[in-house]
Point group: C2
Chain length 471, copies 2
């Protein structure tokens, strides 16, 4: 029912349908109508069931989950949020947990274990069957965010002497337990990767040909310690469905599939964006964190920036003499540092994004920085003229107008240049360029901007006749 309505609706209302299922399910569960609840979920896709369960009140999670047929339960479990997965584990009897964890795919299981308390993992691991235990321990041994950690050891490997029809027979047998049947891997006796082929190649070939005749020997692969973002870039670049992962002795140990890659990109991009906004990120869902943790993740950057801002205060303090001579100078401080910050934000945003998605290399750094400097100069000149004329018309003080306008040119150029140069510098030193993000650059520009402004004002006050400073 739900499903067939589902497909006739545009995407936007699928969410509403899910909400409908959720509220109906909650009613059934609260009234103890378990059979009706069970039937309601039958036609719903596993990923949607996981969402519906996740949105139920926490006390209903376990009972809703138990309604699922055994084979579907594992799939739904893999789609649940980590927090729901963990809370469910506490409600289960030992045997239930064993069955569930046993049937998860090794890469999903490794990710779950990774976040469980070590004590719970030590309890669970010995209960797994020997093969599953080995697969999981293997994955857990690799560093987080590497190919080793996100790969699955469930791939199909073939030998060169096999005929096409024998290979198809083997695939038929393994189709149920393997992650993909479309990318196939050829290994020698010592499990070294000797080539790849696709199911497409196999289907197109003659039945009596051997794998050795039709494989592609120049396979692109990654190592277990390759960063997950680089793995994702390889799959994106070559339009692969999967990429093989080899260990330090070039033995095939797993594959990473394209569906994991999309999630890797999303997680990595969220981290990049958080860094741009000055929020630390450890991969956890911000919206499920406690307020205490939210504050802790945000306060460190704020404190660093606060210290930098104290420098700006010191600069103003040092110029209090000029300021008390000409109080209206204060009027344009926020405008100058605000505009400088905005210009710097623009530059650092495009440069950091370019570095993060490999659109620019640090090799062409000078050209890029010069380009941003010129853009800053152009923008600054435009805005500076506008501000100078506007300021004079508004309050008729030539010294203030000239100081604001000319310092804006300098500030925009400084902001644009440092917005480009600092991320590139950081990248070439091996740090994350996003550390030199908008908030940091904005705050640095504050110091330099105020210094420039007062220096120019001080010079003009010395040069121009005093009456010009009267409004």
């Amino acid at each position: 029912m739900v499903q067939s309505q589902d497909i006739e609706q545009p995407i936007s209302s699928r969410r509403e349908l899910r909400e409908l299922v959720r509220s109906q399910l909650q009613t059934f569960l609260e009234q103890g109508q378990l059979q009706e609840a069970k039937l309601l979920l039958v036609p719903v896709q596993a990923v949607d069931v996981a969402d519906v369960i996740g949105e139920l009140p926490e006390k209903l999670h376990a009972i809703a989950f138990r309604l699922l047929p055994k084979d579907e339960a594992t799939e739904v479990y893999e789609y649940l949020d980590r927090s729901v997965q963990q809370s469910l584990l506490q409600d289960f009897k030992n045997q239930e947990i064993r069955d569930l964890v046993e049937q998860m795919s090794p890469d999903d299981r490794a990710r779950l274990f990774d976040e469980l308390p070590a004590k719970v993992v030590r309890q669970l691991l010995p209960n797994l069957s020997p093969t599953e235990r080995e697969a999981t321990s293997l994955l857990l041994g690799y560093q987080p965010d590497t190919a080793g950690r996100i790969m699955t050891p469930e791939y199909i490997s073939l030998k060169e002497h096999l005929t096409v029809s024998a290979a198809l027979e083997r695939i038929r047998h393994l189709a149920e337990v393997t992650e993909t049947v479309y990318a196939l891997y050829v290994t020698d006796a010592a499990r070294h990767l000797t080539g790849i082929l696709s199911l497409r190649d196999l289907v197109v070939a003659q039945p009596e040909q051997t794998i050795g005749e039709i494989l592609t020997r120049d396979a692109v692969f990654v190592h277990t310690d390759t960063d997950q973002e680089d793995v994702a870039r390889v799959i994106q670049r070559y339009d692969f469905l999967a990429v093989p992962v080899v260990d330090s002795e070039q033995r095939l140990v797993g594959i990473v599939t394209v569906d994991d890659v999309i999630d890797v990109f999303e997680r990595e991009t969220t981290e990049d964006i958080y860094a741009l906004g000055g929020v630390q990120s450890d991969g956890e869902n911000y919206f499920q964190m406690s307020l205490f943790r939210v504050s802790r993740q945000r306060v460190s950057w704020l404190l660093i920036l606060l210290v930098t801002n104290v420098l700006t205060s010191a600069v103003i303090r040092a110029n209090e003499g000029v300021l008390s001579q000409l109080v209206s100078l204060a009027m344009f401080i926020p405008l100058l540092i605000g505009t400088g910050g905005n210009v710097g934000t623009q530059s650092s945003t495009v440069i950091i994004r370019g570095l993060n998605i490999d659109k620019i290399q640090t090799g062409g750094a000078w050209r890029l920085i010069r380009r941003e400097a010129i853009a800053g100069l152009m923008l600054g000149t435009m805005l500076g003229l506008l501000v100078a004329v506007g300021a004079y018309l508004l309050q008729g003080n030539l010294i203030v107008a000239l100081s604001a306008g000319s310092s804006l040119i300098v500030i925009a150029m400084l902001a644009s240049t440092s917005g480009a140069a600092l991320p590139i510098l950081f990248k070439s030193l091996g740090f994350d360029p996003a550390l030199m993000s908008a908030p940091f650059i904005t705050t640095c520009v504050d110091v330099l901007g105020v210094l420039t402004y007062f220096t120019i004002a001080r010079i003009l006050l010395g040069v121009l006749p005093l009456e010009m400073s009267l409004g």
Copy 2:
């Protein structure tokens, strides 16, 4: 040669290898050693060849491209940057262009035509063969950034009465000309989508079964006018390799494949990030734009923000009386609005990202905004106390210290609240939430922050004995 070195190197040095090939190729071309140049490119993957050609000096593009065997040329052409594609077209003879464009896949061709001058497209379209012309005109008729525009009409459709072995035979014939053989679509006589199956299903089934017996009827699909980002979300959500696209009469007209989805996510994310940084984006590569266009894309936001900043100036001007009474108040203006801006940037960054990747819905808006308000209050209290104590120790003026500290609490809370509320408001009005991005919120907080600061200072000056205002 290149290839086999290639696979034994970690990913990071593949770029260096590409650079090696490029410099060698350039030398060969400049010395007229065309045969050597041709051999050099034989083992290199198409996507890498495209990069190498793109990095050559422009005058060598056409000659390098002509070295490629005809069947590889099309694939390489599809991978080239749009700007290189366009410049190549100008160098080619009519027949060459016709052959090339004829062999491109319809979705890539539509994207190329989309960016060519209308005059050139009118020249090229009539030269295509009738089927290819129809396929391209079809795609060009859909709105940009919709499923219709990114889909390919080259999929495999089957009928329900076919046996599995007949279907496999059909796939064998079509494998060369279709985009994917892994996702298969079942249609009735009127081309309505009646179900889907995968090559995996087909391989696992018995040869004499019919398609009607093994297909999945509840297929998830999208419409031609579905936004490309929603299409990408569907594929991501269900881990699909492809999703079918139907027209308004539910007839199957194309499919979108997972490799296109990764590129859609990257383009959409770049747009999101640019919007966060206050840079307009029309999908073109920022690093290939002229400086004039760069300035034009950046100046509009800067001007809007400048106008908002003039309000801040007006607030300060209105408070010049207070300021001249107590000049050192100016000292903390940048610190207060800077910190407020940073707190607001953090909130708007996480909220906008959450809205963009559908992690949060506008439904739970009040809870989210309240949460951010509380986080802002906590952060503001912490920072405010620090600033009050620091300011007093630094310059011993109680009124300035109290004004700065207490207004920071208000500012942080205002910034955090508006950083959450404005993007949510914009989203619920149907606008892009990123329009309410960091630069805009920072600038709004400037106005409110300065107003708060002076209001508090004015009150304290009225209440506290005058000698407290002396340093």
